[in-house]
Amino acid sequence: MKLEYTPEQTAFRAEVRAWLAANVPAEPLKSFDTEEGFQQHREWEAKLYEGRWGMITWPEEMGGRGADLLQWLIFEEEYYAARAPLRVNQNGIFLLGPTLMEYGTDEQKKRFLNGMATGKDIWCQGWSEPNAGSDMAAIRSTATLSEDGSHYIINGQKTWSTRAVWADWCFGMFRTDPASERHKGLTFILVPLESEGITVRPIPQLDGLPGFAEIFFDNVKVPVDCRLGGEGEGWSVAMATAGFERGLMLRSPARFQETAKRLVNLYKANQESADQDPAVRDAVLRAYMDAEAYALTTYQTACRLMQGGKIGAEASTNKIFWSELDQQMHGLGLKILGARAELVPHAPDAGEVGSWLDGWLFSQSGPIYAGTNEIQRNIIAERLLGMPRK
């Protein structure tokens, strides 16, 4: 154990910090759940790509820096500390990208990775269906191979597709064997959203913005070379993606540590009124401790992975911990803000309320998406502790 950065890591941090200081927009971008904000974020992705900061864990030949997980954590720390924009293309670069590198053909890699990296192609997920939310094996949308084997005909419906409203491509699972059940007979396919037969219906989320959408497929033709992995192998390809999603790439400790820091400052700035409720001071301390513990455990996991370990039930413990912490911290922020807390960011008297209310709304999705926390607790009990399934 050595809890100090190497000179190389320190130098890397300095390089990141310098670039961000020079490049992060002075004014926050608009929400990427608005059309204008989406385009602003797309441009930011292009700028990151230019600086080779877009996907630093990708190999150098794909525009990355071949960064290891510790460099990734350092990068994220600087990124959040600099309050740089959220990543509009995270589904592409963090989820599909690594999957493509593992399962894609050389041609597919060449074709998709660059567009993803530059922000030209923004990707959305096509996992859930109306009756297959947390139960992904219940997928019913079909992809039928044409008789000449040149393309699939896709029919059905996907839902909860984040940022699908303005995205360019969708990746998802479809049932290619109509007689199959559950995990079998599913195939992983990449679909251009401008294809004929596709209808995207925005779903307004809690803040009223169309942060996700339903996607309807009505005889959508997709060339067979858009299939990732073999036919019927969709489940194992997708599980790799889900593993990444639940893993540590997407939920940097940095994000929560910055929130905890802002919470401490918010508390200090409003201490007199906040201390009327003794639970507040306690909860602020707890936020600091929990964000710190999350960072420590993430560093431990990263080091284990770098030494050849695998992510196991950490994916579930991690999901519960950050999502409940995020909810608690933002709820606490609103509590400290008191009567102003209900104002939306653009209300003239909202003051600093905005980011806390936005964060609070966003935090509501944490314990739900990518497997509800109830499902994660089942997984911990059954797989980590070995408790009986039935």
Partner: protein, 351 residues
């Protein structure tokens, strides 16, 4: 000793509930969000016809002469439908405050109009920063720098502030103190502010009970209908326990609210800390109801499409309305930790 509501009170609650559930639907709420004022004159007129606008107005001024206790169950029902119109505010805060001012000419001027629906009066306290429904008020009773003023609609400037709960219309209000009618200052103003605040907090608490109940009902329905892994998700024990936790806590939030209403109606010396207890626990259970309800809804709960969010947002907004949890805990602490407090068995109903 009788801790039950009368037949009449329960029947009144039932008829108001039936009316509200029919008239104030999620659809009508969504439609109202699209209108400029967000308020329905037609609905208000129906309240007038049912005698609700004058319910706490003395009979001599054309009302029903009822008190806070008579109204508390109706406030709960208003919460159940997330009513946007300021009926609860009018009956529980504005009317009693006008009477408490003790200026009979003033009362005579406004109370009959409130009962008849000709006028709406709102009270704006500094604890809330902003004034709800200032845009439809004919008269505003406003706290400012230690005094209380009555200001007519034409004499105020309003700055709209959008709430996450689109059913709430909040305004920063500016007015010329010199040109306003001062109702009270000094100790009397302080007393009046506490008087109004206690009633506003009771109103929020009672509505929070209703909002919590509504979220239970919506979530039980949803989890009964919605299937996953081949069964209704409401059959999972974790889902059941999320709901049961709201339900049992709700039972222990109701009685403090009713006791607070009783204490205000009977001007008991315990009223302020009784109200604070009610406010803290009722808002907590509504908050928990929001948290557990969105969780059992899964991703659907995160959307604008299901009706849950209407009630979640109302619960969130009520949290710090008429005093944060801290404000109220502080009042409770002042009582509980005082040397004079009579605690322990047998003192619950010591006034």
């Amino acid at each position: 000793m009788d801790f039950t509501f009368s037949e009449d009170q329960l029947l009144f609650q039932e008829s108001v509930r039936d009316f509200l559930v029919n008239e104030v639907t999620p659809e009508s709420i969504r439609a109202a969000w699209q209108t400029e004022s967000g308020r329905s004159d037609a609905l208000w007129q129906q309240f007038v016809e049912m005698g609700l606008t004058g319910i706490t107005v003395p009979e001599a001024h054309g009302g029903l002469g009822m008190n806070e206790l008579d109204f508390v169950l109706l406030a709960q029902e208003a919460g159940y439908v997330a009513l946007a119109e300021p009926l609860v505010h009018s009956a529980l805060v504005a009317v009693p405050t006008i009477m408490e001012v003790g200026d009979s000419a003033f009362a005579e001027q406004w109370l009959p109009k409130i009962a008849s629906g000709e006028a709406k009066v709102v009270v704006g306290l500094e604890v809330n920063n902003l004034v709800e429904d200032a845009h439809i008020a004919d008269l505003l009773i406003l706290e400012k720098e230690g005094a209380l003023y009555a200001v007519e609609a034409g004499a105020v400037e309003l700055r709209y502030n959008e709430s996450i709960d689109l059913g709430r219309k909040l305004f920063a209000v500016e007015f010329d103190v010199a040109a306003a009618h001062k109702l009270a200052d000094g100790q009397k103003a302080k007393d009046l502010v506490v008087f109004a605040l206690n009633r506003g907090a009771l109103a929020a608490a009672a509505q929070a009970l209703g909002v919590a109940q509504r979220m239970i009902d919506i979530s039980v329905q949803y989890t009964t209908d919605r299937k996953q892994f081949g069964v209704a998700i409401g059959s999972f024990q974790a889902v059941k326990h999320h709901m049961a936790n709201i339900a049992y806590k709700l039972e222990y939030a109701k009685t403090p609210v009713y006791r607070a209403a009783y204490a205000l109606a009977n001007k008991l010396s315990s009223a302020s800390h009784n109200v604070s207890h009610a406010k803290v626990v009722a808002c907590e259970v509504a908050d928990l109801a929001a948290k557990n309800s969105i969780q059992v809804h899964g991703a659907m709960g995160y959307t604008w499409e299901v009706d849950l969010h209407i009630f979640m947002k109302r619960a969130w907004a009520l949290n710090s309305s008429y005093g944060t949890a801290g404000f109220h805990k502080q009042r409770i602490a002042e009582f509980v930790f005082s040397d004079e407090a009579k605690l322990g068995a047998g003192n619950t109903f010591a006034a």
